[in-house]
């Protein structure tokens, strides 16, 4: 059967040739793609990286009651940024709190930190001074999940968790931060100020 052997030999050689050509083409293509992916890894990855996706800003950044005093007949005055003015004289009634907006591209959780506490901010001892903050929605569903500051809560000067899921959709990305003060009649006169810092992280 020498003819059959020769035929088998031809087939085998053809198989080897095809396999070698296949290997050569594959290696060639791998080399091209590796060169492309090499460039992409060096520069393409950086171009596609998104940094600082969390972004918040105060669109209303000041609450100022102006100048005033505690009514002489009272031991303290209670005022807030929702229009309350009890036993206060001359101060401007404020009906708009701070407004914080999530203008990033991810849902965020945020905390509030005040630069001081009631004793340092307001002072006095006729009654215990208080400095409280509260977070409510400015836009529907802007404070999803848990709101740990849904009612007036004493400012501690440390980071206090607020909303743990505030979206970035333009129709549901703003919350109000209201402030309530109890001012003792013997609080030292002068200009008082406090800074409230909101710190947000993507969730």
């Amino acid at each position: 059967m020498p003819e059959n052997n020769n035929l088998l030999m031809i087939v085998a050689i053809v198989a080897i040739v095809v396999a070698v050509v296949n290997l050569g083409i594959t290696i060639n293509k791998v080399g091209d793609i590796m060169a492309i992916t090499g460039f992409a890894t060096d520069t393409g990855t950086a171009n596609l990286t998104i940094e600082s996706a969390a972004s918040v800003s105060f669109v209303t950044s000041v609450i100022n009651w102006g100048s005033g005093q505690v009514d002489e007949a009272s031991t303290s005055a209670t005022i807030d940024s929702e229009g309350t003015m009890t036993n206060g004289l001359n101060w401007t009634t404020v009906s708009q709190g701070l407004t914080l907006q999530n203008d990033g591209n991810c849902n965020v959780t945020f905390t509030l930190t005040t630069s001081n506490v009631a004793s340092a901010f307001i002072g006095g001892s006729a009654v215990t001074p208080t400095y409280k903050i509260k977070v409510t929605t400015n836009e529907t569903n802007a404070c999803g999940g848990t709101n740990s500051l849904s009612s007036y809560t004493e400012a501690t000067g440390a980071a206090q968790p607020a909303c743990n899921n505030t979206g970035y959709s333009n129709t549901a990305d703003a919350v109000d931060i209201d402030v309530q003060l109890v001012i003792p009649e013997d609080a030292l006169p002068g200009a008082k100020s406090s800074v409230i810092t909101a710190t947000a992280s993507c969730i």
Binding site: N5, L8, M9, A12, A15, I16, V18, A19, V20, N22, L23, T26, I27, V30, I33, T37, T41, T45, L48, T49, E51, S52, A53, A54, S55, V56, F58, T60, S61, V62, I63, N64, G66, S67, G68, Q69, V70, E72, N90, W91, L98, L100, G124, A126, I177, I183, E185, D186, A187, P189, G190, A191, K192, S193, S194, V195, T197, T199, A200, S201
Partner: protein, 71 residues
């Protein structure tokens, strides 16, 4: 050429084909890992600040000297 020689050649052909397959598979793995890297998102916190201000006027109650003067 005997059958043994032909058999050896066929085995070589199979080995080369397997090597080719391995190389092709490794190419697909590279592409997948590249996609994973390019979708990485680096997140860092952001912050903003608001201001609360009030001025307390002097009164006899909060300024003892005025209280004394009034007395």
């Amino acid at each position: 050429m005997d059958k043994k020689m032909i058999t050896v050649l066929l085995v070589i052909a199979i080995v080369i084909s397997v090597l080719s397959l391995v190389v092709t598979l490794s190419l697909n793995t590279d592409n997948m890992s590249l996609r994973e890297r390019t979708t990485t998102i680096i997140q860092k916190p952001d912050f903003s600040s608001g201001q609360v201000g009030i001025t307390i006027e002097p009164t006899p109650e909060n300024q003892p000297t005025l209280k004394n003067q009034n007395a």
